[in-house]
Symmetry: C2
Subunit: 166 residues, 2 copies
Amino acid sequence: MSGDTDVEIGLSDFESQAIDFFCDGVKLLGLPKSIGEIYGLLFVSQEALSLNDLVKRLGISKGSASQGLKTLRKLGAVRESDSVEGRKSYYQPDVELKQLVGGFIKEQVRPHLESGEGKLANLKEMVKEMPGDARSDFYAGRLQRLGQWSKRAKVVLPLLQKFLGR
Amino acid sequence: MSGDTDVEIGLSDFESQAIDFFCDGVKLLGLPKSIGEIYGLLFVSQEALSLNDLVKRLGISKGSASQGLKTLRKLGAVRESDSVEGRKSYYQPDVELKQLVGGFIKEQVRPHLESGEGKLANLKEMVKEMPGDARSDFYAGRLQRLGQWSKRAKVVLPLLQKFLGR
DNA sequence: GAGTTTGTTCATTTTAAATTGAACATATCT
DNA sequence: AGATATGTTCAATTTAAAATGAACAAACTC
């Protein structure tokens, strides 16, 4: 027996448009469209879906679906439904804005901020090596400002999450 | 007489690394690298620079520089320096984080939010047309949640700007 | 233990986005 | 006016990112 659940093939009008909504959203965040498609379909599905459901309904490749789910899991935007019968995995969306934003900040924003701080430290070193003239003073001032930016960001991000909390 | 100011060609080590810092930053925001390069060079330059200065020092095309400056001006990240001699334009960066974030929100985020609201309204219409069964109830619930997201975002963004203010 | 089903990985292909450069417009100078 | 400098636009090219699909591995079935 084939074991496949009887999920329709193709998407309803409503589903397509809803998915489109999410594709826009993830593009704003700099994530690939396929991630918007996957999350979007899960968002408007009452039942948890398997990887193969996603492949069939969205018409995307197994590779894309697998990669996309991986990313979404890392972001905490999707979780395996503590499932049902069998060893096959079924996925559900996390629909709490706070969690979603939190995951995005943790996985996408923080790493950038941190590598930025590293680079900033390097630049400060370089200025220290310079002869102390007007130019190096100017550089020092600019770098100080970048430091402020970075500090502000680190203060604001947690606040942001707080404010989104239900 | 050639009229070109004697800006060096090529970039110092310090400049390159600083520019690199900004390229990373704009990539996080989903903007093209050239914009990071332009803003970065302006950020570490004591003197205002002309379009041609940017072309020569960064080794990018006139087209890129022109387009990049246009975008940066729209974002409010760069302004024409109320200049000096002649009709040629010279550009300076705005270095206030609050302004920069404000411009980004206004130009990049808000439009997305607004088009999103439009799509949401459409989806709500579609659900209204549906027979009132369990499925349409589920859809209605999901759409309500999306509405919450959108509302939250509209509340939080101005707060964010406030908190970044000097 | 052969055959399925499920899922991952990664080299290749495809697609989308950014960059270029040439044509054009506009202002400046002598 | 003609020559020069400055800046924009847009079709063509290049580049970077994402999607595909085939090969592989693991878990499960009979």
